[in-house]
């Protein structure tokens, strides 16, 4: 417990010193959101809809999403319908990692849906997403990968917590699995 406390203080100390944005300036958001050519399950997070009139409406529509970081700080953003939470986070400088850039090969964009009702509005995670969630730090019953949660009108008001992974790593005796 003691260790966890001092570590959190340490994390806050870093935070206080942080002046550089999440990515170096050369980062172009489009490189983060580009679809990966190797992913066969690409249709899972495809944003193309079939209707035409609906598409126009949907594309203009944005929902409100709140990210709560590990220190409890909240950031509310507007996310266009059809966009993944990973992309949305990156467009808004929210510190959500995306090591594999949404290709379902890592667990770094792990988010916790804070409201069970909201969680139930999401489609069930696929086997492939579950395989990655297996490896997520601080997994909960309502954990999802940010790249697989796509904004839709019913999700307006969605609240997502970023897991306090550092604590789990240092204190809870986390046993990582081989890659």
């Amino acid at each position: 417990m003691l260790a966890s406390k001092s570590l959190r203080l340490g994390a806050q100390a870093i935070k206080g010193l942080t002046r550089v944005s999440h990515f170096p300036k050369s980062v172009c958001p489009t490189t983060l959101t580009r679809r990966n050519p190797y992913v066969q399950d690409g249709e899972l997070f495809s944003t193309t809809a079939t209707g035409t009139a609906d598409v126009e409406n949907e594309e203009k529509q944005k929902i409100s999403v709140t990210f709560v970081d590990k220190d409890g700080e909240e950031t509310q953003i507007k996310v266009p319908v059809g966009m993944s939470m990973l992309e949305a986070a990156h467009e808004n400088d929210i510190e959500l990692e995306g090591a594999c850039e949404g290709s379902l090969a890592c667990s770094t964009c792990h988010v916790i849906v804070m409201d069970v009702e909201q969680y139930n509005k999401l489609e069930e995670p696929t086997d492939e997403e579950n395989d990655m969630l297996d490896l997520a730090f601080g997994l909960t019953e309502t954990s999802r990968l940010g790249c697989q949660v796509i904004a839709k009108p019913e999700l307006d008001g969605l609240r997502l917590a970023l897991p306090a992974a550092t604590r789990n790593f240092a204190v809870d005796g986390f046993k990582p699995k081989p890659h």
Partner: protein
């Protein structure tokens, strides 16, 4: 050649001196040793935490990214996407990469500690655990790491040339994800591998391979298998593969159930194995490739071939049963006194990597890691932290975990660094100017070391992509030290 090296070094130093003078005097000079995920995540977090940090990443190879390049399987391109993020870090104007710089020969730890305020060792685990049983030195017995480095074109092992032509059977010892990787590479159709960045020497050897049967052997049962669901699902899905899992091995005890209850991965892995067992045919059809999951077998000795002197012909196993370690909820393998032999012509030991010690660095030989408290290196005798010396990644916590594990690991090490800096600030320790990059480059120049910068690596990168595009691969790795250095020096 020497002339070329020293002249390009001089240009380099001049270049950096100019850049250097424009920076503030009170830079925090940081050196990270090792450019794998642990090294790059540490660098990224240090740059983020301190505007005044100047981070140099050194690596003994001319190429960056550590195991993302030489460990991740060629048919897992999506796992390598993280290279994009690491490259953005390397392009940060306060970050430099210096490849072909070996700690312990090009530069020494004591020197780095003099030149830099903070030294973070993240050089991983470049050796292997051994079984310590008779016959381990026979030819045809390799560590999985060697085999992986070979098919991934690591310049140290491009000459390994494992014999895949004189046998139809390979035994893989271990059932973790590395074991599954090497088994999958042996069993997958070479046509599918031909469109990956697998080293061409490995692709040709696999095309001529006569291996059609692979045993994945574990000391314990299916509930304890160390792999994860993704890799298991993948190998079970290989087209036309006959999978054999003995039904009797799938009978579980209450202790097994308890283990699974507490571990989602174990539960999902067991489910996959059970499903694979029930859906498989009783016998392979002729010519079909086979994968056998063999549980409850402990290797006792390697058997030598009668016809091929010094070559492995099989393994002698003791059958095991699970025994609960009281109070821990864990079960270990205990011998039963019954034995069984399995014939094979190739053995890949996938029983774990091991870090290597270096001069002047405290090292825990039994655990194979550097003794540390949350990344602060502890001195040999006392439990006193070494000033300004830190570890991250496998060297810190042992060779387990996924790439993302290093994200949290780096968080922890950088938090320790920050606490120490904060504590020192009142005494103005950071007012002490350290030469950092300039000092490093001067030393390397005096030793005629050809430093490979990130721009030099990008030359190698473009060349590899160009070579790959000629034969329908995303990249054709340059696997020879001299070629790598020549391309870098162009």
């Amino acid at each position: 050649m020497l002339y070329l090296r020293s002249s390009s070094m001089a240009t380099l130093t001049a270049m950096f001196s100019r850049k250097f003078s424009s920076l503030t005097r009170r830079s925090l000079r940081v050196c990270v040793v090792g450019s794998g995920p642990a090294g790059f995540y540490t660098a990224e977090k240090m740059l983020k935490a301190y505007d005044e940090a100047e981070v140099d990443i050194i690596d003994r190879l001319p190429t960056p990214f550590g195991l993302v390049r030489s460990g991740v399987a060629p048919d897992h391109p999506e796992t390598k996407i993280v290279i994009n993020q690491f490259s953005r870090v390397a392009h940060n104007e306060r970050c430099s990469f210096f490849g072909n710089v070996t700690l312990g020969s090009s530069i020494f730890l004591s020197e780095l500690r003099q030149i830099y305020h903070v030294v973070v060792l993240a050089y991983g685990a470049e050796s292997d655990r051994v079984l310590g049983i008779p016959g381990e030195e026979l030819s045809g017995v390799h560590s999985a790491r060697e085999f992986v480095w070979w098919y991934n074109g690591h310049p140290d092992l491009s000459q390994l040339a494992p014999d895949l032509k004189n046998t139809d059977t390979a035994i893989v010892l271990g059932q973790g994800n590395v074991a599954l990787d090497v088994a999958r590479i042996l069993l997958r159709s070479p046509a599918e591998l031909a469109v990956t960045d697998i080293a061409s020497h490995a692709l040709s050897a696999l095309r001529e391979s006569s291996i059609r049967k692979v045993y994945l052997v574990g000391r314990r049962g299916p509930v304890q298998a160390a792999c994860t669901a993704k890799e298991l699902r993948e190998i079970l899905a290989i087209k036309g593969l006959y999978v054999n899992i003995k039904e009797a091995d799938l009978l579980i005890t209450s202790a097994d159930e308890e283990e699974m209850k507490n571990n989602r991965i174990r539960r999902r892995v067991f489910d996959l194995l059970s499903k694979a067992s029930s859906s498989s045919h009783p016998h392979p059809s002729s010519g079909q490739k086979e994968l056998h999951f063999t549980f409850f077998r402990k290797p006792e000795k390697f058997l030598e071939s009668n016809d091929r002197n010094g070559h492995v012909a099989g393994l002698h196993f003791e059958k095991t049963t699970l025994k609960e370690v009281e109070g821990s909820g864990k079960q270990i393998a205990a011998g039963t006194g019954q034995y069984e032999d399995l014939e094979c012509g190739l053995v890949l030991k996938s029983i774990g990597y091991k870090s290597l010690p270096i001069d002047g660095l405290p090292f825990d030989h039994s655990k194979g890691v550097v003794p540390n408290i949350r990344g602060r290196v502890l001195s040999c005798d006392a439990a006193q932290p070494e000033d300004g010396l830190y570890v991250c990644g496998w060297l810190k916590r042992g060779p387990t975990g996924i790439i993302a594990t290093n994200l949290y690991d780096a968080d922890e090490t950088v938090a320790s660094i920050s606490e120490d800096i904060k504590r020192k600030e009142p005494t103005s320790e950071f007012a002490i100017t350290k030469p950092g990059r300039e000092g490093l480059l001067q030393l390397l120049e005096s030793r005629m070391v050809q430093v490979v910068t990130f721009r030099d690596w990008e030359k190698i990168d473009s060349e590899e992509k160009r070579l790959g595009s000629l034969i329908g691969k995303p990249r054709e790795k340059v696997t020879d030290w001299r070629n790598l250095l020549e391309i870098a020096a162009k």
